[in-house]
């Protein structure tokens, strides 16, 4: 695990723009209540989703609650559409995004900077349990392979296609639907990430019996908490807290609770 740093993952050559949305550049005056708006995409269990009573839940939510609790911050939870979530952050509608957000160089730009990575996962090629073909056979069979629209899994699919593999990409709206397509027989395989798949299979043993992971793809990737680049104080505080949490026994309990162990 990386040591805590002041800046987390950032864009090295980017200047830090200070806009009116920047609220946490430096420490707020003593005694002032810190109010943080947490934006998340409720479409991403077990990291962020909603409970039947409408309240937010998930691993990321628990992490942010722990951090807010530690500092005595007020935490406001705001579900937000994924496609405009960064714009909302930039414009001050949100202050942090903790929603299973992968750290990629494209994302860590002048718009958002990340905290230290707090979770790592790997992409996987999944097929039906009775499909005995190898990964290469599947990827070259012209078969339909389902992914989630806009996910890093789709990036993987695109990358493989660009490398000359022969399959059809079917990009659906969520992992759940992509998995559904595999189970329906509409797709012959699925590219997904372990962050989604493993907890899901733990929760749904019947599904787990029907599928098998054919192979993993590439190296592990990581999630980070996104903030405005200018909110240096906030990011530092989050990094400190994350570091503390990740080295405490509490961390494993949290992972355990959400099936991410």
């Amino acid at each position: 695990k990386p040591a805590p740093s002041g800046t987390g993952t950032q864009c090295p050559e980017c200047a830090i723009p200070v806009t009116s949305a920047c609220k946490f550049v430096t420490a707020p005056p003593e005694g002032e209540k810190v109010h943080i708006v947490l934006g998340f995409d409720a479409n991403y269990p077990p990291f962020t989703y909603v409970l039947p009573n409408g309240s937010a839940a998930g691993f990321d939510i628990d992490v942010m609650k722990w951090i807010a609790n530690k500092y005595g911050w007020e935490l406001e939870l705001k579900p937000w559409d994924w496609s405009t979530i960064v714009t909302a952050l930039e414009n001050g509608d949100l202050d942090v995004i903790a929603s299973g957000m992968s750290i990629t160089p494209e994302r860590a730009s002048e718009k958002i900077w990340f905290s230290i990575p707090y979770y790592s996962y790997i992409h996987e090629l999944v097929a039906k349990a009775d499909d005995t073909r190898s990964a290469d056979e599947i990827l070259n069979s012209g078969a339909v392979i389902a992914v989630q629209k806009g996910s890093t899994a789709e990036e993987w699919a695109d990358k493989l296609l660009a490398e000359g593999y022969n399959f059809q990409k079917l990009a659906l709206n969520s992992y759940v639907e992509a998995l559904q397509a595999l189970l329906d027989g509409r797709a012959q395989a699925l590219i997904t990430d372990s962050a989604f798949l493993e907890p899901y299979l733990k929760q749904h043993p019947d599904v787990a019996a029907q599928v098998r992971v054919v192979t993993t793809l590439g190296a592990p990737e990581t999630y980070g908490i996104a903030t405005r680049p200018c909110d240096i104080w906030l990011r530092t505080k989050i990094n400190d807290a994350l570091h503390e949490l990740m080295t405490s026994p509490e961390w494993n309990k949290l992972l355990e609770k959400w099936g991410l162990g």
Binding site: Y49, V50, K78, D81, S83, T84, T87, N91, S174, Q180
Partner: protein
Amino acid sequence: MDPVWWEYIPYILQGAIWTFTLVGGGLALGFAIGVPVAMGQKYGPTWLKAVLDAYVWFFRGTPLVVLLFLFYWGVFPVLLGIKLDALTTSIIVLGLRSGAYQSQIFRGALNSVDEGQMLAARALGMTKWQAITNIILPQALRIAIPGWTNEYAIILKDSAICFTLGVIEILTRTRYVVISTGEALGPFLFAGILYIIFTYGGTKVFNIIYEKYHIPGLVGKGV
């Protein structure tokens, strides 16, 4: 065993408050805009027609997501210097857009009122305005009712797109439930039926109005 998503039914239903706030606000505002725009397009001076055509062109042609995006982060804060909350922005944008569509519904209706009606009204000494409000509009509004029920049905569902700005109504909630429970068909079917009830109920109301104001003996259902 009951499907897990059943527990979420109250949560989905609570979205109806937002749905109807958006629909009510958007439709009413759209009506207030659409009727005068249609009249302007039909009876106004050329320059006004050009302006209104441009308005209709832009708001009818641009996807709602884009409009919401532009108004929430662009037009209001940057151009006008006001920061409106997501709900208000959504209602205004829905209203502006619906106004563009409604204006075309009314334009069609105005065209179906025969020329003699205008002539007779003007012959009585009515101004163009009086003729429109007293004679043409009451007849056109009746003709427009079926089109209006469409607009209602559409805006009812399009309100879902306001989620772009974080307004969480029925359809968005349904999606959350699908994802949170991993069950897709059930919640979607439930939402579908819910919308059918809303659409059908609303359409029923419009139909009652339509039949009530149906001019006796005038128009056909075939012979």
